[in-house]
Symmetry: C2
Subunit: 141 residues, 2 copies
């Protein structure tokens, strides 16, 4: 493993840029969010506000859990609830100057990490797939 | 990076053993599968048959896509459809003697890999988190 090469990873080169990241807005309802997730095929996506700043993360487990009643999943509630009520606000972020070590540490517990610039604008996401792909190429020499 | 150590990974030591893996049966309906996914908090889990052999994988994207109508997601269809109709049957597997290189190569495209023994019985799963955790400890020396 040629450690210096592997560790010279540049986040900007490897992140999925914001224009290619499926996302929803804080004000959307959960029915809309579930449709976006279903059509994109992703299980979790970022939540942005109208200023394009990162506010949280919404996922199918979060949505389903929010409408889980005593006896059944109450799908009729999806229209009534908003993304900002259910979303996970506590999400890790990095900026484009962060190191691969910081990225890997966070990717242990998070399938993707949001990248934002110094002003807090959403720039893209770094995924586990990207890092594992680099690791795979690396150990194949 | 002490490559020899890192690559001496033993799958049996690092996999989540079958008794701790949430799963469903081929004959369950999608409403049951969605409840298991929601209560466990996972987005995708293995599908087994009554002989405890691995048959496929079911996920919230697969379930939602299978009931996606022209105008809305048709939740009432969940009771009518079975796991075996919707599940992804084309899933990669490894046995406990496989190498970390084989594991990493598959984990590039799959969040977890099913481990089965020589007779085809389900033994457990190896997750991206486990491999990234090892990588993280490794680069911190
Ligand atoms: N349309 C597709 N084409 C090919 N492979 C697909 C795919 N959808 C999912 N996968 C595979 O499944 C993994 C898990 O996807 P999931 O949606 O749960 O979890 C995803 C999703 O929550 C998020 N994500 C990835 N790309 C995204 C995007 N363009 N927009 C929004 N969120 C994204 O990052 C997580 C980790 O992504 P990662 O690539 O490491 O891992 C992905 C990828 O290996
Ligand atoms: N209850 C929980 N406690 C702590 N962290 C949690 C968690 N549920 C999810 N996570 C975190 O979210 C990641 C993605 O979970 P997901 O359910 O989409 O994707 C999971 C799920 O599809 C499957 N999986 C993991 N553990 C499982 C289990 N015990 N039974 C069945 N499937 C499991 O393997 C995928 C990758 O798992 P991985 O651990 O790499 O990655 C997990 C883990 O980092």
């Amino acid at each position: 493993l040629h450690s210096e090469e592997f560790l010279e990873f540049n986040i900007s080169d490897f992140m999925i840029p914001s224009e290619r990241v499926a996302h929803v807005q804080v004000g959307n309802n959960l029915e809309h969010a579930l449709l976006v997730l279903t059509k994109s095929g992703y299980t979790a996506i970022p939540v942005l506000d109208p200023q394009y700043k990162l506010q949280g993360l919404i996922s199918t487990p979060i949505i389903m859990d929010s409408i889980l009643g005593l006896e059944r999943i109450e799908f009729e509630q999806l229209e009534q609830k908003r993304v900002e009520e259910a979303m996970n606000r506590n999400i890790p972020r990095l900026d484009a100057e962060s190191s691969i070590q910081q990225s890997i540490e966070l990717l242990v517990d998070h399938p993707f990490i949001c990248i934002e610039n110094k002003e807090g604008y959403f720039e893209g996401i770094l995924t586990r797939r990207t890092v594992l792909d680099q690791l795979n190429k690396h150990i194949r020499r």
